[in-house]
């Protein structure tokens, strides 16, 4: 039984069957990649996992509980954190404030009317956020406006924000899309390090095979809204069905 | 109020507040307790003219302001003296009031109760105004009248036509020269009956706020008393700019008269729409269809243009009135400003002179003395003919004009013609009339602010 169990999920947009009969099981403490050509339904599937979309059929269980019908913030509080394709951070806030917000969310839950004490008096959150920044090697940038940072730093900050919540499952949506090779390698290293240092399950949607094969322990190939195969990276390489899906030609 | 309303307790407390902060050096002197609010101490006395200067009624407010300035000139002995020469009371000498030169301050009511009170307060608190005059709506008049009562100054209302101003909201410190909805109805009803017959069916469109309701109530009561039937009364939102959807059903309602209880822009548009729908060309119940606009003003007539032709209504005053006071006023106003005065201008002019005269006769600016001098005062020579300021409710009683849109006006100023001057006896009512707050309505106590 995996930490994330997707069963028979289907989703239609008007005339387009985006997902049909998707089954997926992500085992705890693994790195699981989902790959597939454009329009295979990767993003739709991801959105069904985090509460942005509700599937027409099927079930999505996280750690034995259904996530269906829950709002994104509730699913996050269950322990799923999401990293976006383009970094989603609080651009108008400073880097430190960016890091404090997930820490508050971790400590106080989805809503807390904490309107009178000053932020600086919240020592526990402050310390935690600083610790996380140090871990992400961004402590020196803490008073910068987040919007002013480079794209690579924004990605780092976003991943750091997700980790500060100590999620059990980290979802990454093409984390290296549009990155230069050097930045991509840095990101790979960062993710490897993260995986080494803590008990965490990572699910990653990726285009870049280099990234996928550097990180993943299991790979699911999605094509036309349905999983083609699921296997180890070694077996996926050279799998005829995969070639077919990617090259669009029958073997 | 503010400056002088130092109750002993208030004095002690405020004194303590000020004293706690700084030890008072001897040059700090608290003003000596005056006998009444804004008692004039120097060689001048300040009047406050509170008129709409922005918003839809700005032109009407401007007309009032012109008349008020003219009155101040006349009081100070400048110009040709205007109605001072025809006024039956000879107390005014053209040397200001009680020997003090008259100055004035102005404010903008914006035709909103809040803004009007703010500007009246500023004139009282900051400029030391001892009397407030002007305004072009009943909401503003009632609001400012209440303020003046609390503050201990005299309020001489401008254009306010609602029964409430001297009805349930009457105040000891407030006075109205303008006529009211009841008087309009009482004056109009016989003329309507004579011109249109006694078996008419009336359809009312009524502006959905206090003034509209009182006017509709008054007109309906007066016309029903002489045999008319009220088919329907439809309330229209004040903010309406287009009345087509209210006018369209009129013709099929079985009515043969349309009564527009609207004022200002509402009236201009509803009348324009009614003419567009061709109501006046129609025949209903075998009779020519008619329109009545109970309250007319010159500016509304100008705004409605040709549409007012043949439409009946009532006015407080019209410059074409042929009496000595009116002629003197029209000459004075016309020569200075190049146009005849409107009825709101006339009421403000008369109110300023009446206030000044009352001060002279009372020998004091003390509002309580002035009020006493105005109560029950009978006069003539200000343009409306013989007039009484009734003591019980501070309402002026005088003849009421029934007017009609002229068929062939020769210039921009004679678009209205006087149909009848309804004698004052016909528009009289008891001070405890149910439409005026009944027996419960009371002026309360005079407040001088002391």
């Amino acid at each position: 039984m995996g930490i994330l169990e997707v069963k028979n999920v289907g989703k239609r947009f008007g005339g387009l069957q985006a997902l049909s009969d998707v089954n997926l099981s992500v085992a705890e403490n693994t790195v699981h990649a989902i790959i597939g050509p454009n329009g295979a339904g990767k993003s739709t599937l991801l959105n069904c996992l985090v509460g942005k979309l509700i599937p027409d059929s099927g079930s999505v269980m996280f750690d034995g509980q259904s996530v269906l019908g829950r709002a994104p913030y509730e699913i996050n509080q269950m322990g799923i954190s999401r990293v976006f394709q383009t970094p989603e951070i609080f651009g108008d806030l400073t880097v430190l404030e960016n890091m404090m917000i997930p820490c508050f969310a971790k400590r106080d839950g989805a809503f807390e009317l904490n309107a009178l004490p000053s932020v600086s008096s919240q020592k526990d959150v402050m310390d935690r956020a600083m610790h996380m920044l140090e871990e992400m090697r961004m402590a020196d940038k803490r008073n910068m406006h987040a919007a002013a940072m480079s794209r690579g730093d924004k990605r780092r900050l976003e991943i750091g924000m997700c980790l500060s919540q100590e999620p059990r499952l980290l979802l990454l949506d093409e984390p290296t899309a549009g990155m230069a090779r050097a930045d991509t390698n840095n990101t790979i290293d960062l993710l490897k390090q993260i995986k080494q240092e803590r008990d965490i399950t990572i699910a990653i949607i990726e285009h870049d095979m280099h990234v996928v094969f550097s990180l993943a322990e299991r790979i699911t190939v999605l094509a036309q809204g349905t999983p083609l195969v699921e296997d180890t990276p070694e077996n996926i390489k050279g799998h005829p069905k995969v070639r077919e899906a990617y090259l669009g030609e029958s073997a | 109020m503010s400056n002088n309303e130092l109750t002993r307790r208030g004095l002690l407390r405020t004194g303590a507040v000020a004293g706690a902060g700084v030890a008072l050096p001897t040059i700090f002197t608290a003003s000596s307790a005056a006998a009444y609010t804004n008692e004039p101490t120097g060689g001048t006395v300040t009047l406050g003219f509170n008129v709409p200067q922005t918003g839809p009624y700005a032109d009407e407010g401007n007309d009032e302001l012109l008349a008020q300035q003219l009155a101040v000139e006349h009081l100070n002995g400048e110009g040709d003296g205007g109605c001072l020469n025809t006024f039956t009371s000879k107390a005014l000498k053209g040397n200001g009031i009680l020997g003090k030169k008259v100055t004035f301050v102005t404010g903008d009511t914006q035709t909103k109760s809040d803004a009007a009170r703010a500007s009246a307060k500023s004139m009282i608190e900051k400029d030391g105004a001892i009397m407030i005059n002007g305004g072009s709506s009943s909401g503003v008049a009632v609001a400012v009248q209440g303020l003046c009562q609390d503050a201990g100054v005299i309020f001489m209302a401008g254009l306010t036509h609602s029964n409430d101003t001297t009805g349930k909201d009457r105040k000891k410190n407030g006075f109205r020269h303008f006529f009211n909805a009841y008087m309009s109805a009482a004056a109009l009803a016989p003329v309507l009956s004579k011109e249109m017959g006694a078996d008419r069916r009336a359809y009312h469109l009524t502006a959905d706020y206090t003034w509209g309701w009182t006017q509709q109530e008054s007109i309906a009561a007066a016309t029903e008393a002489m045999g008319w039937e009220t088919v329907n009364n439809v309330l229209t939102p004040l903010a309406s700019t287009d009345f087509s959807s209210y006018i369209a059903p009129v013709l099929n309602s079985g009515a043969d008269v349309l009564v527009l209880n609207h004022y200002g822009g509402n009236m201009v548009n509803s009348l324009t729409n009614a003419i567009q729908f061709g109501l006046l060309d129609k025949v209903a119940n075998g009779k020519d269809f008619k329109i009545v606009v109970p309250l007319y003003s010159e500016l509304m007539a100008a705004g409605a243009g040709e549409n007012i032709k043949g439409v009946l209504g009532s006015m407080n005053y019209n410059w074409q009135l042929d009496n000595e006071g009116s002629k003197a006023f029209v000459k004075s106003f016309g020569e200075k400003y190049g146009k005849p005065p409107s009825n709101s201008a006339q009421t403000c002019y008369a109110q300023v002179l009446l206030y000044a005269d009352a001060c002279e006769r009372a020998g004091t600016f003390n509002p309580c003395g002035v009020a006493e001098a105005l109560e029950g005062f009978e006069f003539d020579g200000l343009g409306n003919g013989k007039t009484l300021y009734r003591a019980e409710d501070h309402q002026c009683f005088k003849d009421v004009l029934v007017v009609r849109g002229a068929q062939n006006p020769t210039n921009a100023y004679d678009t209205l013609e006087i149909v009848e001057v309804t004698p004052v006896e016909q528009v009289m009512y008891a001070p405890d009339h149910p439409m005026f707050g009944g027996a419960e309505a009371s002026l309360g106590e005079c407040n001088s602010g002391a």
Partner: protein
Amino acid sequence: MDAIILQILNGLDKGSAYALIALGLTLIFGTLGVVNFAHGALFMIGAFCAVTVQRLLNLSFQTVDETQKDFLGNPLKVDTPYVEAWFGPEVGATIIDWSVPLAVVFAIPIMLAVGYAMERGLIKHFYKRPHADQILVTFGLAIVLQEIIKYFFGANPIQTPEPSALKGSLDIGLMLGFDPNAIIYPIWRLVYFAFAAVIIGGVFAFLQFTTFGMVVRAGMADRETVGLLGINIDKRFTIMFGIAAGVAGLAGVMYGPLNPPNYHMGMDFLVLSFVVVVVGGMGSLPGAVAAGFLLGVLESFASTTWATTTIPGINQIIIYLVAIIILLTRPRGLMGRKGVMEE
């Protein structure tokens, strides 16, 4: 039945004015992303174009007529308009009589120029500024424009009557087989509706069938991409602003005979036209037109005696009530696209 037809006519007529103003407003939203609080003022300026034309045609010379007296008893000065002196009294009077339709011709270049000047002189600098700043600056502009009009024309409404040939009303009921007087409708209101239909149709045709229009529509959908294609979209947007101003202005010119123009008529329509645009959906042209007519018709029905006796005061709040219901059931109005003006 006749009452229903009558109120539908009324509604279409009210709706015409709403739709015309909202159309221009949503064009500006959609193309420039600007919240234009001065749009009502453009409508008002259009109406005052008609007033100006009427004043110009009535420019007169004075002759003293000793036989008549003015209100002070002096000899009366008689005004004779120049056009009557030049073309003879009858032709001259006819020209004056037709001043509103003439003003349409006069208003088109003026409104385009006003729109162009506004966009180049002011709005252009606010594309990148927050919506709040746009609101403040255009609101300031609206106040300034209306105060200027007030300074020259006063606060009182000014009649701009329709030509006498188009005065009066038609008995539509008779044509449809109802009793006489059942459905009486003013000719000019029918003219206004037809005029609005032509203008709306014209704008849509222009956007649909010309290359210029296609580029603008593409720009509305995705401004950046079209800009990347090397098309000078900015210049086209300036022209669109001029057109939007022109539509508002023409709506104003033709509105004069329905209800006499005054300096604050723009503010009276401002809030309403925003409600219309939003109910229609931000950036949607068909939405704005549909919402304009829908709200016009509903407003007319709400003012019937039947409606006001069933729910007292419904005529006061109907527009807002409908707006709330529509926005709560359809998150982006009738035809709005996702993500437009939602931040």
